[in-house]
Amino acid sequence: LAKTTQPISMDSYEGQEVNITCSHNNIATNDYITWYQQFPSQGPRFIIQGYKTKVTNEVASLFIPADRKSSTLSLPRVSLSDTAVYYCLVGERGSGGGADGLTFGKGTHLIIQP
């Protein structure tokens, strides 16, 4: 399984765009990149998944360069409720975002201030 490296913590302010970068130098050809969000006292929640270039949904965008050795989760106009832990995961999967064999690291603690 490809190992991921992401910042332990980040902080920003309401209304700002937040970009969290994840490094995955050993990503394999069949691997997808998936991001999960976790609030205190809750289970993780799927945010977005991608294989290459850019993916966008109603919550976030995911940017993946051509070499796929890193990826950036972009949260537009964050609010206080976006304060959470964000996990970057890399592993083989299809077009969904399943947790099969996923290894969660320590994640990035994002703190949004007023």
Binding site: G96, L102, G107
Partner: protein
């Protein structure tokens, strides 16, 4: 749509006692997972079921942990005997099938004293 249900939400036991957690996945979801999340760390996969068969239990401490998913629906995770280091949140997740989005329950917070 109802989410993944887990019970109990909290449990406190003494070391060497036994404990069981229950999970009811989203209706129709064939794949079920149990994770252990120690404070300050990300979730660690303990076991994965596909219907009532085990797909991956490589990180399950089989000397004390066991899990079953009879009839391919509900699942129970048991610890016997518990150790202090088992204190953690135990998360259950389910997905429609392998390689599709997983949905997590709220977890059971276990404290072993």
């Amino acid at each position: 749509e109802a989410g993944v249900a887990q019970s109990p939400r909290y449990k406190i036991i003494e070391k060497r006692q036994s404990v069981a957690f229950w999970c009811n996945p989203i209706s129709g979801h064939a794949t079920l997972y149990w994770y252990q999340q120690i404070l300050g760390q990300g979730p660690k996969l303990l076991i994965q079921f596909q219907n009532n068969g085990v797909v991956d239990d490589s990180q399950l401490p089989k000397d004390r942990f066991s899990a079953e998913r009879l009839k391919g629906v509900d699942s129970t995770l048991k610890i016997q005997p518990a150790k202090l280091e088992d204190s953690a949140v135990y998360l259950c997740a389910s997905s429609l099938r392998v390689n599709t989005e997983a949905f997590f329950g709220q977890g059971t917070r276990l404290t072993v004293v």
